[in-house]
């Protein structure tokens, strides 16, 4: 009796887990968004002089690593890999600006990042509208 | 007095109020024709382990026989030595002179004293 209950509980829970590729994509996008937003805030606060250089650099690098980790297995949505590539390029430029202590140099990639963030948001919304 | 409630698992303190373990077990003497007599209090990790499961006490004894003070026998305190039973069970002994503190003394002499600030 106990075994049957436990087995059915597992089945129910398994059914609730996001195993569909659609859900996985949404989750991936959300994580990428979160780290993009983090990088943006890091860039902005660094520009204002509110955070130390080393922390800014390390956090930007961590953002890149997390996004790379998250998008490693992405096969859906053909537009995405290119967007991610562009995103990583922008982050790389920001990291370089921080490494060289050139506050002026981060302005352009920051604007670019804002645009890329918008694109991600649109993509996420499109996923949300799907059944 | 409820022996299980008021004595078993209570703290034992010596005549100087020094803690010397808990009452891990009680040894009762059975003599034919007479009511059971409380003979000894027992304190020791093997006694305690035995209450959890008899096999436990064999493992514990095996580990204890190889480590530290290498002391496995539980310490028995005669009931006549019990002075008072209140919050703690006070016994008319000096803890340092008994094997109840075998590991405490071993750790103190062999480990703690060798660490700066430990002596």
């Amino acid at each position: 009796m106990k075994k049957a209950l436990f087995a059915s509980l597992l089945l129910v829970l398994a059914g609730c887990s996001p195993s569909s590729s659609h859900d996985k994509l949404v989750k991936t996008l959300k994580t990428v968004q979160s780290w993009t937003a983090t990088a943006r805030m890091v860039g902005e606060t660094w520009q204002q002089g509110s955070i130390p250089d080393l922390y800014a650099q390390q956090t930007l690098e961590k953002s890149q690593q997390e996004i790379a980790k998250e998008t490693k297995d992405l096969t859906d949505s053909p537009a995405l890999p290119r967007q991610i590539y562009q995103l990583q390029q922008t982050l790389q430029q920001m990291t370089a600006a921080v490494k060289q202590h050139r506050k002026a140099a981060i302005a352009t990639p920051l604007v670019q990042l804002a645009t890329e963030q918008q694109q991600l948001e649109t993509l996420l919304k499109a996923q949300g509208d799907r059944p | 007095m409820d022996v299980i409630r008021d004595v078993l698992d209570n703290q034992i303190v010596d005549r100087n109020q020094r803690k010397m373990g808990k009452v891990d077990g009680i040894v009762v003497e059975l003599v034919e024709g007479q009511p059971p007599r409380l003979a000894y209090l027992e304190t020791g990790v093997t006694t305690l382990a035995h209450r959890v499961h008899p096999r436990c006490s064999r493992w514990v004894a095996a580990i204890a026989s190889k480590w530290g003070a290498k002391h496995t026998e539980p310490f028995r305190i005669a009931w006549s030595k019990v002075r008072n039973i209140g919050i703690d069970v006070e016994v008319d002994l000096d803890a340092e002179q008994t094997p109840a503190l075998a590991y405490e003394v071993w750790l103190r002499e062999r480990v703690i004293k060798h660490i700066p600030g430990g002596s």
Partner: protein, 404 residues
């Protein structure tokens, strides 16, 4: 006059010592992911912990026993061995997380990876335990912990919309991310209602030689101290909700949390966050290490006491020495501090019922608390806490594990 001073000191140290790595991590997660929706969890957890801490104090003041002593005596070793083993395991993981918190604070400021800081931090903790007195640890570090009031100040500076905040007082369950929401709720409860708090508080009452005349002090410290302390926790949540949530940052790592105070305070905000994290976690690490030594010493009847010289309590001192260094290894090998924190908080919630059930027995037993038995309110809160944590843990943890 002396009692007033004791109350004041107790309240101040409770506020300063309220935050630890679990409270910070879970509140930040809650605020960044769900804005104000989880405020009710912090309020609920605070009510539960106030009641349970007051009970621990009352038990020790009247019976002159610590909680661990009393549980073994009244319920027997065969019962006590379960919460004992559970508590030692959880303490180990929580201590690792607290050490991690201090190491992250040092990493934020120096850029040197937290893994390198683990052993030096463990050494500092050990040194303070070895050389310090109970008074120094309880009061000194908690006074430093008042720096965490920065979160309360930040809350006022950020001017959150009061209706939205008040809305968070009502329990709601969102349609999206339900599993994650419930998991954070469970973790918040585990962070706030930590068993090590009760064992530590009751041991402290005995170390400070409390008696029946301290029952008023106990109520004041538990109620006001924990109550005001929870405002700091709420502060962390609200700041995360105001700063991180609107930007779309969902906390996955401590680096993201560090940005929280830069909006209200600029560069000083970054420093204040690192200092708050470091001090709060250091203080908690001292308490958790002591807690493990306390419960093992009290379980087996060894000599114990922080104010005792190590050679007077050899087994007690040996336990915390080994424990601190072993727990620091969790950080040395590079286990993610935030993940360890959330995991240990959830695990705490799972073992809570085991720790709290003895309260129901002890606090209604006249031979332990005399005329000061639990009223119906205390008993109700106790039963409620047991049922709530049990149900949430059973439901939320498998969902998160399978879904995450």
């Amino acid at each position: 006059m002396n009692k007033i001073r004791e109350i004041a000191l107790g309240i101040v140290t409770s506020i300063g010592g309220f935050l630890d790595v679990g409270a910070i991590a879970t509140a930040a997660e809650a605020g960044s992911s769900f804005e104000f929706q989880l405020i009710w969890t912090i309020v609920l957890g605070t009510i539960c912990v106030i009641a349970l801490v007051e009970m621990s104090g009352r038990l020790s003041a009247v019976s002159k026993h610590t909680l661990a002593d009393a549980v073994r005596e009244r319920l027997g070793f065969n019962f006590f061995i379960f919460p004992l083993i559970a508590e030692v395991i959880v303490d180990f993981l929580v201590l690792g997380a607290e050490i991690g918190g201090v190491c992250i604070a040092l990493q934020l400021v120096t850029g040197i990876s937290f893994q390198w800081w683990a052993l030096p931090v463990a050494f500092a903790i050990w040194l303070l335990l070895w050389k310090g007195t109970f008074g120094l640890i309880e009061n000194g570090i908690s006074f430093l912990g008042l720096i965490t009031l920065a979160f309360v100040v930040a809350t006022f500076k950020l001017r959150p919309a009061l209706p939205a905040v008040a809305g968070g007082l009502l329990p709601t369950i969102p349609q999206q991310d339900t599993a994650h929401y419930l998991f954070i709720a469970v973790s918040i409860l585990g962070a706030l209602i930590s068993p090590y708090l009760f064992y530590f508080y009751s041991a402290g009452a005995v170390e400070d030689k409390w008696d029946r005349s301290h029952l008023g002090v106990n109520r004041a410290v538990a109620g006001l101290g924990m109550g005001f302390g929870s405002l700091v926790s709420l502060g962390v949540l609200i700041v995360a909700a105001q700063v991180l949530h609107p930007r779309g940052i969902q906390v996955d790592s401590y680096e993201q949390v560090a940005l929280m105070l830069t909006q209200p305070f600029g560069y000083w905000g970054f420093v204040l966050f690192a200092a708050s994290l470091g001090v709060a976690c250091f203080g908690a690490a001292l308490e958790v290490s002591l807690d493990t030594a306390y419960i093992l010493a009290q379980a087996f009847g060894w000599n114990w006491g922080e104010t005792l010289h190590p050679k007077e309590a050899a087994r007690f001192s040996f336990v915390y020495t080994v424990f601190v260094f072993l727990a620091s290894l969790l950080m040395v090998v590079g286990i993610d501090p935030l993940q360890l924190t959330l995991f240990s908080m959830a695990l705490t919630a799972v073992i809570l019922p085991l720790t709290i059930i003895p309260f129901l027995v002890l606090m209604n037993d006249r031979s332990y608390v005399g005329d000061h038995c639990n009223g119906w309110i205390s008993n109700t809160i106790t039963i409620f806490t047991i049922v709530l944590t049990f149900v949430l843990a059973i439901v939320a943890i498998p969902l998160e594990v399978l879904g995450g």
